[in-house]
């Protein structure tokens, strides 16, 4: 059967799932099989509402799993928190996977009960900005869009009448559209920390668009694929060296893009202006707590140090809530961008968190969410 480290190309045996899938429908088939054969009790999937809207649901119904196929670039949600306390399989972007592992480090998720089917991710977009972009840059009516993809640095939209339009990502991002800011400087494009790492990068020749490249990362990955093969839901074959090389090249291109954009996005702030740089945006905070609520790495309940010892009555020059969170997350923030997305005062929280977390993590050569055995440095106990 399949072994750890295998590089495979495969597709869903069910023709409909294969056709509706972004590229072969393998991920959906694996998730459906996992549920069908009792490997897991539930599956976290995105319930489609329209092309730009889907909501994460937890299901035990195979049909709902099959209905959720197709990649969604403009529904930027982190799925980690939906896997808590359940025996579950889930599709996961690299930042979802990182969050799952960070929650596992904090005892909130049992990795043995969580099957993570990783998806390559070139970056996600905000639904409302995407609709505005379609009108202003692509001259397409959002209602007509049936699919989208990121390939070779271009964002491609497919419309009902079979037409395809592609514009370069950096051109879009210069005009203020394109991917969310945290996705631009993200450098984890292939979820090597998941059980399986699937995507369409490296699917070439006649299979392009109708098969999924899948790298088996660990034993749970083997179980997922063997289970799906036994269920007759998927067919796989080893990927050609050329396919593997192309996948690696695409990944390098995206990672380098991330590194170069990081330099542009993070400003060099002279020391004396630094305090003002942070205080200014944070002064508009209305203390709603959404950034803590949505943070997929935070394991605290409603009461935690950042809320219990913070009160609006103090009216300090900087909020205790933010200072405690800046410190607690400096070793665990995975820059998934959720907090910026939900901040009602449009404070670039992810940018601020990252400007603390990235230097702190780099200095300690520590990347959160990659290996459940890495103790977050803040809790490192050096017993000389």
């Amino acid at each position: 059967m399949v072994n750890v480290g295998d590089m495979l190309v495969g597709y869903a045996t069910n023709e409909d799932v294969r056709k509706r899938g972004a590229s072969g429908g393998l991920v959906t088939a694996v998730l459906a099989a996992a549920l069908e054969k009792g490997l897991v009790e539930n599956v976290v999937v995105m319930k489609h509402i329209n092309e730009f809207e889907a909501v994460p649901i937890i299901t035990d119904d195979v049909d709902e799993v099959l209905a959720s196929t197709g990649s969604l670039h403009s529904v930027p949600v982190n799925l980690a928190k939906y896997a808590m306390g359940r025996k579950v399989a889930m599709p996961a972007k690299p930042c979802d996977t990182q969050a799952v592992i960070e929650q596992a480090k904090r005892g909130m998720i049992d990795l043995d009960n969580t099957y993570v089917v990783g998806l390559n991710c070139g970056g996600s977009m905000h639904p409302v900005t995407t609709k505005k972009m379609l009108v202003e840059m692509y001259d397409i009516d959002p209602e007509d869009v049936v699919g989208e993809d990121i390939e070779k640095g271009k964002l491609i939209f497919k419309t009902k009448n079979g037409e395809e339009k592609a514009i370069a990502i950096d051109e879009l991002e210069e005009a203020g559209f394109g991917r969310r800011e945290s996705c631009r400087y993200c450098t984890l494009k292939i979820p090597v920390n998941a059980d399986l790492a699937c995507g369409n990068w490296g699917v070439i020749g006649d299979k392009a668009g109708s098969a999924t490249f899948c790298q088996v990362m660990n034993d749970k990955g083997v179980k997922l694929l063997d289970n799906a093969i036994e269920a007759g839901r998927i067919e796989v074959e080893p990927a050609s060296d050329k396919a593997i090389a192309i996948r690696a090249k695409v990944n390098d291109v995206m990672v380098n893009l991330g590194n170069t954009l990081e330099k542009e996005i993070f400003p060099e702030i002279p020391d004396e202006e630094r305090m003002q740089y942070y205080m200014e945006p944070m002064a508009d905070c209305i203390d709603c707590g959404a950034c803590k609520e949505v943070c997929p790495v935070c394991a605290c309940g409603e009461d935690s140090k950042c809320t219990m010892f913070h009160s609006l009555v103090d009216n300090y020059k900087m909020s205790m809530y933010h200072m405690v969170r800046l410190l607690h997350l400096s070793d665990s923030c995975i820059a998934c961008g959720q907090c910026s997305d939900v901040c009602p005062s449009d404070i670039p929280i992810t940018l601020l968190q990252s400007s603390f977390a990235i230097p702190s993590q780099r200095k300690r050569e520590y990347t959160p969410g990659m290996n459940v055995d890495d103790v977050p440095p803040f809790f490192e106990v050096i017993l000389k």
Binding site: I49, V75, H126, D284
Partner: protein, 484 residues
């Protein structure tokens, strides 16, 4: 799917913030972010984030005992037949339910009061301007914004709109009660100087608000300012469907909620029916309001939420929670927002009630179409209307107290929030010798309360509160202050 996910609109104010409500297997609720919602991009304020605690389910009651909704409707019908009934529906529910409520009013030969007494004191050609505001996107393109509300506390999702405007060069002047971080100027000037001092023109936007306790004179002053400076004006309102209800009940004699309470006190109102509107929560002095309601012969409450008025009602017709209702809302800019829920218990109850009273039957679909035709004119949503009336006579200016309510969503539902403090400035701290981290004692003829205080930059002598206080009798009250 395990549990349920509803797409709904936050009932905190008429900004129209879309969100998901997740219901897990045991029925526990949680808020989730709906990033595709145009008004707020999924973002929520403090009240929105705490909605899981808001939707406390109501239970149908007849004369203090639990009953089925059918029995409650039957009991209500008997009580209402031939009675002189006053009906209150401020717009805390869907358009369809509000329309059904007004159909019941037709059957009873009366009208639905939206509690906004302001309308009956304004010439009708001003109504559309007060009813439907400019679009939220237009705030972002204004060149100057005059704030007569505190967006951080009262209508928080305005903050990002104003910041967006500032990013492309707009200037912001706050004429509220305390310095706002996003304001370039904070002017506590005499209201008569607004026109000359605030430097507004046709590219400017005035943001004010209207609520049941607003002084009509104040609204006229706002309208005059807009008239004289040609500035556009946006009236925020504290109820999710205030705009929809205003359009649905247009032209009917609008009694203000204080007017209704006075009527009850004078004995001219004997029977009151409310739809998702709790006078005890809505009036500045909850205890006084509760005392007034005891004078009613019949108090019938149709509500999806459990609240203090439910406990006093003779009959409670409990409808499904707001997020689960089939229906639509209209936000301040006239945008129609739909719930994804399909439950119609509220509508069916009112349909039965209406028939029992000789009125017409109704179902969700025809109500919905009616809404589309009457207030949405078949997909051309209502637009902001430039002011055309001449300058209004403001009339006598009420003398203001020094304890001022900063109305916000928590206050309209009297829902606890960890805002357990009042705001004062440093001069008051030094004058009274308040100790840091200590308390300030506020005394009015309604009693004394010790509150923690937060130091703000604001005019001398004023005390602001974002939480209802037992000492406050009006929306501004005169209190004496000393250190505890």
């Amino acid at each position: 799917m395990i549990g349920n996910v509803y797409q709904t609109v936050c009932p905190g104010c008429n900004m129209g913030c879309g969100l998901y409500i997740r219901e897990d297997e045991e029925g526990a609720l949680a808020v989730d972010f709906m990033k595709s919602s145009p008004a707020n991009l999924g973002k929520l304020c403090r009240f929105g984030m705490k909605l899981a605690h808001h939707y406390s389910k109501a239970t149908s009651m007849v004369d203090g005992k639990e009953a089925s909704v059918e029995d409650a409707v039957k009991a209500a019908s008997d009580k209402l037949k031939g009675a002189d009934v006053t009906m209150l529906g401020v717009g805390n529910t869907t358009n369809e339910e509000s329309l059904a409520f007004s159909k019941v009013a037709d059957a009873l030969g009366t009208v639905v009061n939206t509690g906004m007494g302001v309308y009956s004191e304004l010439p009708t050609e001003c109504h559309p301007t007060v009813g439907v505001g400019i679009t939220l996107d237009e705030i972002e393109s204004a060149n100057r914004i005059a704030l007569f509300v505190d967006p951080y506390i009262q209508y928080p999702l305005l903050v990002r709109r104003i910041l967006a405007a500032k990013k492309i060069g707009a200037s912001v002047v706050s004429v509220g009660w305390k310095d706002l971080h996003l304001a370039d100027e904070n002017r506590y000037i005499d209201p008569d100087l607004y026109e000359s001092e605030l430097g507004l023109d046709s590219e400017s936007v005035i943001i004010a608000d209207v609520h049941p306790n607003t002084d009509p004179g104040w609204v006229k002053r706002m309208l005059n300012l807009a008239l004289k400076t040609q500035a556009k004006i946006l009236f925020m309102k504290p109820f999710v469907n205030a705009t929809g209800v205003d359009l649905l009940c247009k032209g009917t004699g609008q009694k203000g909620i204080s007017e209704i309470m006075d009527g009850i006190n004078e004995g001219s109102i004997k029977t009151l029916v409310t739809l998702n509107s709790d006078p005890i929560e809505l009036m500045p002095d909850s205890d006084a309001a509760a005392a007034t309601l005891t004078k009613l012969d019949n108090l019938i409450v149709i509500s999806s939420r459990d609240g203090p008025v439910n406990k006093m009602a003779d009959i409670v017709i409990a409808t499904e929670p707001l997020y689960a209702k089939a229906g639509s809302f209209m936000n301040v800019e006239g945008l129609l927002l739909n719930n994804s829920g399909e439950s119609t218990t509220g509508i069916d109850s009112m349909s039965t009630l209406s028939q029992n009273l000789g009125g017409e039957a109704m179902d969700y679909q025809n109500l919905h179409n009616n809404v589309l035709e009457s207030i949405v004119q078949k997909y051309t949503k209502p637009k902001y209307k430039e002011l055309t009336c001449e300058v209004l006579d403001i009339g006598p200016v009420e003398e203001k107290g020094n304890l001022i309510y900063l109305y916000n969503p928590f206050m309209w539902f009297d829902q606890s929030d960890d805002n357990d403090f009042v705001m004062v400035n440093m001069n008051m701290v030094n004058k009274l010798g308040l100790s840091k981290g200590g308390m300030i004692a506020l005394t009015s003829d309604a009693g004394t309360v010790n509150m923690r205080y937060r130091v703000e930059d604001m005019p001398d002598g004023l005390i602001l509160t974002a939480k209802k206080l037992p000492v406050a009798t009006e929306w501004t009250t005169i209190v004496s202050t000393e250190a505890v």
